[in-house]
Every structure is written in structure tokens, then in C-alpha cells.
Symmetry: none
Subunit: 82 residues, 5 copies
């Protein structure tokens, strides 16, 4: 077994681990969706500002999920060790 | 043991780890579905906007689960190391 | 197998582990987004201060996700052991 | 393989593990941000004290995330075993 | 590979694992911060006692995070096995 194979094997595991970060965005954005739907039901006339606030906050929550994706892609396609 | 076997074995583990991200979308979208059903029960006349808001938010929450799926598929079918 | 390969392999796994920190920011910022959408629905005239408070708090919650990203990038591109 | 390589490899994994502590601060500070946005929406005239209390509490919640970062940095740059 | 290297390697991983305890304090203190901000918004004239109570509770919640930090520091700088 040579060293490159070990690094590539570990990178495949590391890429998988990095995606686990996505749990957070999924739960958080789902909570935002639920609260948004509830608020739109109560004040349909405020639908515009409610949905905009929900999507603005969801975009912020998406960031750490994207960080994980970026690290996974770096490990797979721009691995500095290989 | 040769190197390719190790990389393929680790990729199988990495693909499995990446799918753990799906926990988040499952919990979050379920919360959104619950709140949406609750809101439709209270304001049936607002069903249209409630369901649209719920589905819009759920679509956003789906993204990180899809990132995990993409990384898993890359590891399985477009593995850059093999 | 030489020592450098082992260190680089472990760094790839460590980088993936560090990204898991992002779960927190995702859940927390999503909660903030949901509460922000709810509050904007109830007091649309206070939209400005609500969104500013939400984003200020979300920025604070982002910090630990960024710490994880920084450690992952150090492990990949400025690894002190290699 | 010599002993130093093993220690450095384990330190890279340990640094990644230490960052997982950041999950807590992310969730907690996000909750504070959501409650802060909600409170500011209800009492905009009390915005000053609400935001100060939110940030004071968030600073306390940040501490354990910083402990994790400190241990990770010690493992990477001031490792007592290497 | 000698035994001391294995012990030190395992200690580095153990130090990282110990920091994961910080998740709890982060979530708990953030909840306290959110409820504190909410309470200060409702009774701004009681800000003093609210903040003192919040900080007292947060100090208690901090303890387990500090236990994790102490064990990590012992593993790194006062390791009884080396």
C-alpha cells in the first residue's frame, strides 16, 4: 500500500464527514418554513415581508452547509495532499 | 491489499456518512409540514398561501440533503481517486 | 507507508470533522429566521429593527462555524505538520 | 513509520474533533437571536437593552466554542508531544 | 513505534473528544440569553435582576464545559501516562 492511496481513502471519508454539517441547515430552514407558513396563515396580507424575512434568514443558515460542501469538493477534486 | 481496494472501501464509508446530512431535512421539513397542517386547520381559507410558503421553505431545507446525495453519488460513480 | 502520508490522511479526516461544527449555526440561524418571520408578520411596521436584530444575532452564531472552517483550511492548506 | 508521525496524525484528528464543540454556541446564540428579534418586534422602544442582554448572553455562550478552538490551535501549533 | 508515541497520539484524540462537552453549555447558555432578552423587553425596569439571574445560571451551565477543558489540558500538559 502506498501513501497516496491512504490519503485518498481518508479524503473520501473526510468528504463524507463534512456533509454532516448539512443537518443544521435542514433543521433550521425547516423551522423557518414552519414558522413562515404559520405566520402567513395568520396575516396573509403580510405574506411578502414574511416570506422575504424567512428566505433572508434561511440564506444565512445555508452558509455553514455550503462551507461543508466546499471542503468536501476540495478534498475530492482539489486535494492539496495528492 | 492494494491501494485501489482501500480507496473504494473508504469511499463506500464516505458515501454512507454523507447521507447522514439527510437527518436535518427530515426533521426540518416534518416540522414545516406539521406547522402547515396546523395553520391550514386554523385558517382553511388561507390554504393556498400557507401551502405555498411551506413548500418554498421545505425546498430550501432540501438543499443540504441534496448536497450530501451529490457527494455520495460522486464517491460511488465519479470517484476522482479511482 | 511513510509518516507524511499518515499525517495528510488524518488531516483530511480532521478537516471533515471540523465542518460538523456547522450544524449549530444552521439550526440556530434557522430558528432566528423563523422567529424573525413570525415577528415581522405580527409587527410589519417594525420590520427594520426585527431584521437587524435577527441578522446581528445570526452573525454571532456564525462565528463558531467559521472557526471550524478556518481549522479545516489550516489542516488542508497550511498544515503545520507537513 | 515513526512515533512523531502518529502523534501528529492523531493531533490533526483531535483538532477536528475539538471544533465540534461549536455546535452548542451556534444553536444557543441562534435561539438568543430569534428571541431577541421577537422581543424587539414587540417592544421596539426597548431595543437597546434587549440587544445588549442578547449579546451579553451570546458572549457567555461563545466561551465553550472558543475553548474548542484553543485546544485545536494548541494541537496544531503548540503541540506539547511533538 | 514505541508505546509512548501511541499514548500521546491517543491523548491528542482524547483531548479533542473532551471538548465536545462544550455543546451542552453553548445550547443552554444561549437559551438563557434568549429568555433573558425576552424578559428584559417585557420589564426593562427589572433589567438588573434579570441579567444577574441569567448570568448566575449561565455560570452554572459553564461548569461542564470547563470540566472538558480541564481534562483536555491535563491530557496535553500533565499527562499521567507519559
Amino acid at each position: 500500500m502506498n501513501g497516496d492511496a491512504l490519503i485518498q481513502a481518508a479524503s473520501a471519508i473526510g468528504a463524507g464527514l463534512a456533509m454532516i454539517a448539512g443537518i443544521g441547515a435542514g433543521i433550521g430552514q425547516g423551522f423557518a418554513a414552519g414558522k413562515g407558513a404559520e405566520a402567513v396563515g395568520k396575516q396573509p396580507e403580510a405574506q411578502g415581508v414574511i416570506v422575504r424575512t424567512m428566505l433572508l434568514g434561511a440564506a444565512v443558515a445555508e452558509t455553514t452547509g455550503i462551507y461543508g460542501l466546499v471542503i468536501a469538493l476540495i478534498l475530492l477534486f482539489a486535494n492539496p495532499f495528492v
